[in-house]
Symmetry: none
Subunit: 288 residues, 2 copies
DNA sequence: AAACATAGGTGCATTATTGCACAGATAGAG
DNA sequence: CTCTATCTGTGCAATAATGCACCTATGTTT
């Protein structure tokens, strides 16, 4: 089988009429075009080109083959177009990584309206406790509760997450000194809201430990005790009320991060705008 | 534009399912196939293949492009077939080499009827004193008066060339001891018919030496003397008559020779049959 | 469970291809 | 007719591609 690239060079020679013109279009030396076409002739055992001092007209055989070569050229252009279409539709699947609660309660509820406005963009939302590695393409864009430290990332502050203490009405009506508490397990003692909760215990017990906010919320709804929840969870739960606490509750910045070259694509811009909007509305940076 | 040969390698990978299988079919190293497909992916900005430890399945995008690549492959096979067809019609010009007299007087007069029967085959007839080098493609087929010695040639005896002494009627009517003779020059003393002629001189002179049979025939027609000519020349010349000679005239075999692979082509078979027929009719192996 | 065969990735030496510079030829302009 | 610009072919140095050997991983066979 002949080298398909030799045929490519021949097809351009056939269309342009000279080695030099073909070379200019292909971005190679005229000698290379000459050698490639000669290699094709040898491979096919056929004279495709009459070699004159200043011209290289096609032979009759060359003209016959040029038609098929032209068809190959059209196919290769179709492949390029198809590839571009696939590339564009490939970036129209945007993968988001966010802390589980943020993913499930802050972002997921708004995906319906996003999809209605942008049916051509598919969102893939992953609730992840760990920071997704953008450098390994684990996600295209990430929502983080701590400011990313990587140098080459695009980083934008999009919101402020307020926490508060929540319990059922019955639990809230009890004498404060009889309250019991719901918290994370001790592996997460470093979290800002966990530090705050331990600070307000005042000798009162943590009677339930859960590994995520969902479990804490469910236990609080069941009347087990009081839990430190993000306001977007507590405020939107009709069974829970906010408890007053002397110590001011913590606030954590919400960050959006992605690689700059990826974030330039239209689909990515659209998704990043969407995330900034809903998080900005639910967790505004400036207190209302 | 991507390298078309990269696409070729990808099309074989797509069809065979593995780098190793593609490499075997293409006759290259599996590493080369891997690199070529990677180059294609880079050029198209697309992931075509999932790289697993023992497999390289196509991605969805890869499958989509594989269809177009397969179409390119079919076209390239059509190009090969078309090229072979053109090559075969190119060999429909058959080049014949024969001794000059055989070419001009034995073969050339019959080319008209050959062409009428085979308008698609072009004959190129060369009268050559030296043996055309078939190994250097100086001719496709040769008529020889000596048996070729090359090992790998196809060799066939197609006729017997009879010689005789010819002169005009006036010369033939003279007393035999007064005859003068026409011969080749001394560089051709080794020829069978020249040896025979010198043997029948009986002291009579060679008064004219020519380098070819045409010159000898023209001198004989002019009444200069007697010449040893092939019968197909002498018998077909109304101005010449055959002279009786006691010593039996020589006979030389006529050989047809060509390379076997070339002689298998239909055009070559047709031409070789034509040569064997006309030479067999004019110079039969068995005396009539 | 162990051994064997095969697949894919990678570094490096070898081989092939390419670009560059130059020469010869030709067509067009002055 | 002469000069200029451009085209094509070729030798050689530089660059790129390939094959080879080796390593790791996996599936199959014993």
């Amino acid at each position: 089988m002949f080298d398909w690239q030799d045929l490519h060079y021949f097809s351009v020679l056939a269309r342009t009429g000279s080695l030099s013109a073909a070379a200019r279009e292909l971005g190679v030396d005229h000698a290379t075009v000459g050698r490639r076409v000669a290699a094709l002739e040898q491979s096919l055992s056929l004279r495709l080109v009459d070699r004159l001092p200043r011209r290289s007209p096609l032979t009759a055989e060359g003209s016959a083959l040029a038609e098929l070569a032209e068809e190959m050229a059209r196919l290769s252009q179709a492949i390029n177009r198809r590839a571009r279409g696939l590339t564009e539709s490939a970036t129209a699947t945007v993968r988001i990584s966010a802390p589980p609660a943020v993913a499930a309660r802050l972002i997921a509820p708004h995906v319906v309206e996003f999809h209605r406005e942008h049916p051509d963009i598919t969102l893939a939302l992953a609730g992840a406790s760990h920071n997704a590695a953008l450098d390994r393409s684990e996600a295209d864009v990430a929502v983080r509760m701590t400011r990313p430290t990587e140098q080459d990332l695009l980083i934008r502050r999009i919101g402020a997450l307020h926490f508060a203490l929540y319990a059922t009405r019955e639990q809230a009506a009890l004498p404060p000194e009889t309250l019991a508490f719901i918290a994370y397990d001790s592996t997460l003692d470093h979290l800002t809201q966990q530090v705050w909760l331990r600070a307000i215990l005042a000798g009162r017990p943590i009677i339930f430990q859960a590994s995520d906010l969902f479990g804490q919320q469910e236990a609080a709804r069941a009347g087990l005790g009081a839990a430190a929840l993000p306001c977007f969870m507590g405020d939107n739960d009709p069974m829970l009320v906010k408890l007053d606490v002397q110590e001011p509750p913590p606030v954590r910045d919400i960050w959006l991060t992605a690689y700059p070259d990826v974030s330039r694509s239209p689909a990515m811009r659209t998704v990043m705008t969407f995330l900034a909007d809903i998080i900005g509305r639910e967790c505004p940076i400036k207190a209302p």
